[in-house]
């Protein structure tokens, strides 16, 4: 094989690697993308990890000390819909005062509950309006 040929082969190999990496990145991007969805769509999303957001339905939160699980209901101020959420982990501080909550996880049809792996809790704060804390 001539030197020129081998150079072309090297470039082709590099290009193939780059394309493969781009495809791999795109796939990984799609897999780890957690879209913000309304409650009814979260209920249809199946195993896919999604994010739901809303306010805390007054008086809906309770904490199970034994199982270390937080139960609460999210409510969408616009549609008025609700979504019960279960989060396994320790209870976020000032949780009752949360202005808005983002739950990242997936919907469990059997218990009509959204199982959150992670919570983003936005609490009122005079610093730049609000402060978001991450749990999970």
């Amino acid at each position: 094989m001539s030197r020129k040929m081998s150079r072309k082969m090297t470039y082709a190999f590099g290009a193939v690697l780059l394309v493969a990496f781009a495809a791999f990145s795109a796939q990984s991007f799609n897999e780890s993308l957690t879209p913000y969805v309304p409650y009814d769509e979260a209920r249809r999303a199946g195993e896919r990890t999604v994010q739901v957001a809303g306010g805390l339905l007054a008086g809906s939160s309770s904490y199970d000390d034994v199982a270390h699980a937080l139960h609460f209901t999210l409510t969408d101020p616009e549609s008025g819909g609700t979504m019960p959420v279960r989060y396994e982990g320790l209870k976020p501080a000032n949780f009752e005062e949360a202005v808005s909550i983002v739950a990242i996880g997936r919907y469990d049809a059997a218990g009509d509950t959204f199982h959150a792996d992670k919570l983003l809790v936005k609490c009122p704060s005079k610093y730049q309006g609000a402060e978001v804390k991450e749990y999970g």
Binding site: R7, T10, G14, L18, F21, F24, S25, S28, F29, E31, S32, L33, T34, P35, Y36, V37, E41, V50, Q51, A53, A58, G59, S62, H68, G89, L90, K91, A93, N94, V102, I104, L120, C123, S125, K126, Y127, Q128, G129, A130, E131, V132, K133, E134
Partner: protein, 782 residues
């Protein structure tokens, strides 16, 4: 825009003056570019006065902060009477407005040095550099930190407690120096394109690119340390947009440094370096846009809220993107391009592959950070989690480690494979041993084992090379290789501390030892606040071998903000860090103390053997209340409770809470079925909640305080820090070397110019030496 009377003029006037002087400097330098050499003095003076104005307005803000002049809104918003002096000063960069002023201050001061190093390109370099500062200046005019309040408050709102930390005092300023430095190679590159100087700029921009890399790297190091030690985020890196905003320009800066190295030594990568210098600055602007415009407000933990500068930032990005795109397109064919004739096993080829790999990493991190924007036009916007970044960067890290472990043994001309293998024997043997050790320590993921193997090989190979080079040229010449040693160390640290950390969440009852793996943890006591020392919890940790240590994680409520703050306690040993982070503390109840519950209508609580449900308030009719209030009488509110003792049927009980308009409260205790008493201790009318105190309830026993902790073992995390130290130290050595070379180029340049002038005088009608070729000589000579 605020009206004059709303502005604190000692600060605002210098800002406006800065605008005038900056525009004057731009005008002056544009005159020089059009051939009026005499205008250079005017332009320099204008730039000097611009810098002076910025220094003045920064000084005014600093003085207002230190004097606690709460008339100034910015001072009111970010400081308070009780804030210690160094935080009072650090509040300068606590908000957006002050941050932009700080960035501009560093940018203006750096410009004075840029002018000295720009040589003949001064007018073009300084013109473009000043233009980048004008962009920031207009943000400052829009978001003026010198807005005054109508009345002077007695006290400020205080500094966000998260920011009251020593790391916070130094981390942001260094970050802004790094951001400001990113504009320097950009200005040099654009000026070079403008002036068609395709070889001289690299030597001058090189030390600046290295300095930017050093400073931004140090800032990232400090930020990681801050997040790890103080913020209790559990790690040094969370792939948060704010963190990524500093990482992307840093990685691209590494690429630029390698590109400039290629250009300086082999005359290659000339076109690419123009693109790269543009990309580094664009990455800084784009990162600023993502984190400061509020576009990610729903997605980032610590992104700023929109101040209404998004539009301006987009315009800035458009201008500073259009400039390199237009100039590069215009000059593309002129830029001399060396043909790539290197064999694959050569230093040049490896450098090219390495830069492509790192650029790919920067691009995927940018894509991940931009996910909420990229997915905006889809039905639902979303974001990507850390798993994406870890997944896509792992193959790139493997490739980088592979390249690094081979490149020390490659020459520019190419090295035969057999020779490479021979020289890799020792580092290779060490790497295989370390990988085998990792396997023995339960590292089973083949990709992880491969990373250990390659990273160790990279470490060893570059260490060998560092010694070789240092023994002939002195340590000063081995900076690059030493930095590669650090990369090998860091990669091992990243893998061990992130993929092999063990985290357990435990709840400890006070005084009761609890086994957590091979540790025995006891929550011994709660230490109340003493002066400025915050509330702490004392935890005794006994290791398997009987040795003990005391951990003092902090968990406290900030008095003014009522935010709960958690500070972890980190115990470092050479092989692993024990990271004890508090999550929650329940104070417990002493013998005879009442149990206090807070219930909204419909909620229930278990107290001892009782199930208590709050059905709702019993409120008198509105007109009765009005009458009672008017007569100075009493209003009585009943709390309707349904109480069930251990499975028995619920009985209703309505304890009352009575108050007069004058504020006198009577709340008689009511007897509970099965024994004990209940009393309404408070009512929260706005929230519809009742607070009940119950005591003497059967089954209600004293409860110890409970502390919930996150106990994490992070193996080899020290390697992340040590590796980064080595990388930065290597970078420092290279910076010194390139600074010296840059100076030599200047001297050489003057000599060439003098010779040229002499020759021109001697033979005035001979064809003058083409300036481009003279510069070409310079590039090769450096």
């Amino acid at each position: 825009m605020e009206s004059l009377s709303q502005l604190y003029l000692p600060g605002a006037v210098p800002v406006w003056a800065a605008v005038v002087f900056a525009l004057a400097a731009l005008w002056g330098y544009s005159l020089v570019l059009r051939g009026d050499q005499a205008a250079v003095g005017f332009a320099r003076r204008a730039y000097g006065f611009f810098t002076l104005s910025i220094v003045l307005s920064a000084a005014v803000l600093a003085i207002a902060l230190v004097r606690r002049d709460f008339r100034v809104e910015y001072v009111f918003q970010y400081t308070g009477l009780e804030l210690p002096m160094h935080y009072q000063f650090a509040a300068f960069w606590a908000g957006q407005k002050g941050s932009f002023l700080l960035w501009l201050l560093f940018g203006a001061l750096i410009g004075l040095l840029v002018r000295r190093t720009a040589g003949k390109a001064e007018a073009a370099v300084m013109g473009i550099y000043t233009l980048t500062l004008v962009g920031l200046l207009f943000i400052l005019v829009r978001e003026n930190p010198f807005v005054m309040l109508a009345e002077t408050p007695l006290d400020g709102q205080g500094l966000n407690p998260l920011l009251q930390d020593d790391w916070m005092v130094i981390h942001p300023p260094i970050m802004f120096v790094g951001y400001a430095l990113a504009a320097v190679p950009y200005a040099f590159a654009m000026a070079a394109l403008w002036r068609r100087d395709y070889s001289g700029w690299a030597a001058r921009a090189f030390p600046w690119a290295l300095t930017g890399f050093l400073v931004l790297g140090s800032a990232i190091l400090l930020g990681g340390y801050w997040a790890y030690k103080t913020l209790g985020w559990g790690g040094y890196w969370g792939w948060d947009p704010v963190e990524n905003a500093s990482l992307i320009p840093w990685i691209l800066g590494v690429v630029l440094i390698h590109g400039l190295y290629l250009e300086r030594t082999k005359g290659r990568y000339r076109r690419a370096n123009f693109v790269l210098a543009g990309l580094v600055y664009m990455a800084v602007l784009y990162g600023t846009f993502l984190t400061r415009s509020g576009v990610l407000a729903d997605f980032s933990v610590h992104s700023f809220v929109d101040l209404g500068i998004s539009g301006w930032l987009i315009l800035m990005m458009a201008v500073f993107l259009a400039l390199p795109v237009a100039l590069i397109a215009l000059r593309w064919r002129e830029i001399p391009a060396a043909r790539n004739e290197d064999p694959v096993l050569s230093r040049g080829a490896f450098l090219v592959i390495g830069t492509v790999t790192l650029t790919a990493s920067a691009l995927v991190i940018t894509a991940g950070t931009s996910a909420p924007l990229l997915t905006r036009w889809l039905e639902h916007a979303g974001q990507v989690g850390p798993s994406f970044y870890n997944q896509v960067n792992l193959p790139l890290a493997l490739l980088v480690a592979l390249l690094l472990s081979v490149v020390p043994f490659l020459t520019w001309r190419g090295t035969p494979a057999r020779e490479v293998m021979r020289r890799m024997r020792w580092p290779g043997a060490v790497a295989v041993t370390v990988a085998a050790l990792a396997f023995a320590l339960d590292v089973r993921d083949p990709l992880h084992l491969l990373l250990v193997l390659l990273a160790t090989a990279a470490l060893g190979a570059n260490l060998v090379k560092t010694f070789e080079v240092a023994s002939t040229q002195g340590l000063g010449g081995a900076g690059g290789w030493l930095a590669h040693v650090g990369v090998g160390i860091m990669l091992i640290g990243f893998l061990a501390s992130s993929a092999y950390d063990e985290s357990v969440k435990v709840t400890l009852a006070q005084g009761e030892p609890r086994q957590v793996d091979d540790l025995t943890l006891t929550f011994t006591r709660y230490i109340p606040r003493q002066g400025r020392e915050k509330e702490r919890m004392e935890v005794r940790v006994v290791r398997e071998d009987g040795s003990e240590l005391w951990a003092y994680p902090k968990l406290f409520v900030n008095d003014r903000t009522r935010q709960v703050m958690a500070n972890p306690d980190v115990h470092s040993s050479p092989l692993q860090d024990l990271y004890i982070s508090p999550i929650e503390i329940e104070p417990g109840r002493r013998e005879g103390e009442p149990e206090r519950v807070l219930l909204a209508a419909g909620e229930r609580a278990t107290v001892g053997g009782l199930d208590v449900r709050f059905a709702g308030f019993r409120v008198p009719e509105q007109h009765e209340m009005m009458v009672a209030l008017a007569d100075g009488g009493t209003i009585e509110i009943g709390a309707h409770l349904e109480i069930a003792a251990d499975g028995a049927a619920a009985t209703s009980l309505v304890p009352t809470y009575a108050f007069t308009a004058a504020g006198a409260v009577t709340a008689p205790p009511a007897e509970l079925p099965g024994g004990g008493m209940v009393m309404v201790s408070s009512i929260d009318a706005a929230e519809g909640r009742v607070q009940l105190d119950l005591w003497g309830v059967p089954g209600l026993v004293a409860e110890p305080a409970r502390l919930s902790l996150d106990v994490t073992r992070k193996p080899l995390i020290k390697l992340v820090w040590y590796g980064l130290y080595v990388v930065l130290f290597g970078g420092l050595l290279s910076t010194v070397k390139r600074l010296r070379q840059g100076r030599r180029v200047d001297e050489l340049g003057e000599a060439v110019e003098a010779a040229k002038a002499g020759r021109a005088r001697a033979a005035a009608d001979e064809v003058a030496v083409a300036p481009a070729s003279a510069r070409e000589e310079l590039g090769a000579a450096g």
